[in-house]
């Protein structure tokens, strides 16, 4: 448990690329049963997009809401498992693109789907400790799914960015507390030089996703004196449409509190951006004074849970940039052939 003294989200932004492929189209190619699709459709990057360009898009939206000069940002951390360079940080490219260089620290984080909330932990800690005035935490991914594998139906692309500061008058929401729950549980992995990850069927559920999320949330609530009645929205990591609903049932969370933050059905699992995009969607509609419980999950495995309270400023800043739904609703459908080209699945 880490209780923050006064750390606020100054600006936030979510970005989803415009291309979509329907689950039915993927099922058609691989002869899969269409009654068991884990999501309706998923987002796909354009030919000129990668994790870094998605991260820059989200960061620019966050900056619009933050209304601070980028040069005041002291740290840029990107959480991703699909960084374009094996060696060379994505954070430096993002920082350069938004004009935050050179007086910054920049690094990438990797922890499967919770790399974004992990980056957020480090940025909030740097701000809380007074080492920087503002920091930028991003979760971004162009997730890989082996052609024909179950993951191909969900592995999607997107980014979410958060600018963190200390001045409550600038904040749209206050980060009141966070905690982590981490064990060595190999439910999903991609080794060096491999293009696609491996995963372990049901093992990714009970001992991985559910065990870590349930314990992370319980620890946060118990250690910090919160109850589920204190929160108005609950956002879980969303690898498919079913898992977050089951997690809600296991924890006794009212489904009405979960639904506003569900985006997986429309855009798929955006990995390191996934739960953070759910948070963006909730911030787009929450009222001042309401509390949000955010719980991510990263394979390998771990879960970060946050308690975030919405501040009065949300009303002023929310409309300074397009809401996430604008990107979710903006879509161009592509077939599997175009998808294969966009996702570089055709190797000569």
């Amino acid at each position: 448990m880490v209780r923050m003294s006064s750390v606020v989200i100054v600006g936030y932004g979510g970005y989803v690329p415009r291309y979509r492929i329907k689950g039915e189209e993927i099922a058609r190619i691989w002869g899969r049963d269409r009654s068991e699709l884990p999501t309706e459709e998923k987002s796909v990057t354009g030919l000129d997009e990668d994790t870094v360009t998605l991260a820059v898009e989200a960061a620019r939206i966050a900056l619009k809401r933050a209304r601070i000069p980028p040069s005041k940002i002291g740290a840029v951390h990107v959480g991703t498992e699909s960084k374009p360079y094996a060696v060379k940080p994505s954070g430096t490219i993002v920082a350069e693109a938004i004009g935050a260089v050179p007086r910054i620290t920049a690094a990438d984080f990797e922890f499967a789907c919770k790399a974004g909330t992990e980056a957020l932990q480090f940025i909030t800690s740097l701000v809380d400790a007074g080492r920087i005035e503002y920091g930028l935490a991003i979760g971004a991914d162009t997730a890989q799914g082996r052609p024909g594998d179950a993951l191909e139906f969900t592995a999607a692309s997107g980014a979410a960015a958060f600018i963190i500061g200390k001045n409550k008058n600038e904040g749209v929401a206050e980060i009141e507390a966070w905690t982590s729950y981490v064990t060595d549980t190999p439910d999903f992995w991609r080794r060096e030089y491999e293009r696609y990850p491996h995963h372990t069927a049901r093992f990714t559920g009970d001992p991985a996703y559910f065990h870590h999320i349930v314990n992370s949330v319980k620890n946060l609530l118990e250690n910090d004196g919160y109850t589920l009645n204190d929160v108005d929205y609950v956002v879980f990591h969303q690898p498919n449409t079913r898992f977050p609903l089951v997690a809600a049932r296991l924890l006794g969370v009212d489904l009405e509190k979960v639904k506003p933050g569900l985006v997986v059905g429309q855009i798929g699992n955006t990995y390191a951006a996934c739960s953070l995009l759910g948070l963006v969607r909730v911030l787009d509609q929450a009222k001042p004074g309401q509390r949000i419980l955010l719980s991510s999950f990263g394979s390998g495995a771990g879960s970060d849970s946050y308690i975030i309270r919405v501040l009065e400023n949300i009303k002023l800043k929310r409309d300074l940039a397009p809401p996430l739904d604008k990107f979710i609703d903006r879509k161009t459908y592509i077939d599997y052939a175009i998808y294969a080209r966009h996702r570089k699945k055709i190797l000569m």
Binding site: S35, D206, P207
Partner: protein, 383 residues
């Protein structure tokens, strides 16, 4: 030749045991069986496992289990006969007692499939086929079953709705079984709407990845007399056939099942009508149907009628797979056939709980390797 008795059984729950190792599973089942028998000393150990060499890269299971049990020093070894490995271990143990070389033998079946990725498990299961023929053309146990399934429906004019009743029956029987992997009922529509594994075979007509261990304590007549535990008499026979059913004269007939059944009945001096409980090897629904027919408990092309009339239900004339069978109790490969025999023993010693079948004095279990390339038939008689 000494008679052979089961004096104790031990079962672990069939499940995906992510936190329990292969050796701990077989040790747990062994200790339960020894406790059930009230024995602490045995003369030898036979372990049946199909997949441990591939999935865990763990061989030498005999000495390993002896060490785990603090019994190092006694003879111990593993035997393998694909998914009938457990029965092969029972066969070896029973023959040792019959020969007079042992008074008490521990037999364990074990496999832990959840240690492998789905594709690794599928490849490992295909090790029971002839690799140079079946394996190399990419066929699997399920695709062979699908071909046989089509052939059966075509030849006898039986629809899938009739055959798919078998998994429904198994799930009905598993509801009250603490060691069952899937203790819940399913509907026929659920089976028929589940995705194809290999057309026409659907997912709910097959089994899932499972871990488990089952153990029996086999004893001779003299030892049986000294023990207070409930006992049954065991007779086991075996037969083999071509590895690929399409090399046989008739792929819809399992001669190994027929032979082993006849041998076992004749040794037990019993007729088919004396058998009041059956355990058939429903690795798929169609395998169960063909096993019922090949063993002579149903007419050819008509096994589905037993299902439809309720004859195989707990209250029927010949209750079948009374703890859920492979489909619902679970199918941890090499361990499965020891579960089958242990469950018959629980029935005949009146310890089957809510699934207790009345007035059965003898039961028969069929355990198959691949598509009946190996068949073990075990008869248990009330003592």
């Amino acid at each position: 030749m000494s008679r052979v008795y089961i004096a104790g059984v031990g079962l672990t729950k069939v499940d995906e045991h992510w936190w329990i190792s292969l050796e701990n599973l077989m040790t747990e089942a062994s200790i339960k069986a020894l406790d059930d028998a009230g024995l602490s000393r045995i003369d030898s150990i036979y372990v049946g496992s199909m997949l441990s060499l591939i999935l865990q890269e763990q061989g030498h299971l005999g000495a390993l289990l002896a060490e785990e049990l603090g019994l190092s020093g006694i003879p111990a070894m593993a035997v393998e006969a694909a998914t009938a490995s457990g029965s092969a271990a029972v066969y070896a143990g029973a023959r040792e007692i019959e020969s007079g070389r042992a008074d008490a033998v521990l037999v364990v079946g074990v496999d832990k499939m959840s240690d492998g990725m789905a594709e690794e498990v599928a490849a490992a299961m295909t090790s029971s086929e002839r690799q140079e023929y079946t394996g190399f053309i990419g066929a699997t146990f399920y695709s062979i079953n699908a071909l046989i399934y089509n052939l059966y429906m075509d030849k006898y004019g039986v629809s899938q709705e009739k055959i798919a009743l078998f998994p429904v029956l198994c799930h009905e029987h598993s509801v009250n079984v603490p060691h069952a992997q899937y203790p819940f009922k399913i509907k026929l529509e659920t089976v028929l709407n589940s995705p194809y594994v290999s057309e026409p075979l659907r997912r709910f007509e097959t089994t899932a990845i499972a871990d488990g261990a089952a153990a029996l304590v086999l004893v001779n007549e003299e030892t049986a007399r000294k023990l207070d535990s409930p006992k049954t008499e065991l007779l086991i026979e075996a037969s083999t056939d071509y590895l690929t059913p399409f090399q046989r004269e008739d792929p819809l007939w399992f001669p190994a099942v027929q032979l082993a059944t006849s041998r076992a009945l004749s040794r037990a001096k019993l007729e088919r009508r004396d058998i009041k409980i059956l355990e058939v090897f429903d690795a798929t629904s169609i395998m169960a149907i063909l096993s019922l027919e090949s063993s002579g408990f149903a007419e050819r092309g008509k096994a589905w009628q037993l299902l439809e009339k309720g004859e195989l239900s707990l209250s029927g004339s010949i209750p079948c797979n009374t703890f859920g069978g492979l489909k619902a109790r679970g199918h941890p490969a090499g361990a499965t056939s020891v579960y089958q025999i242990a469950e018959l023993h629980l029935q005949l010693t009146n310890r089957a709980g809510k699934n207790q079948v009345d007035s059965a004095r003898a039961g028969l279990a069929q355990s198959l390797g691949a598509v009946a390339s190996t068949a073990f038939v075990t008869i248990l008689k009330e003592v």
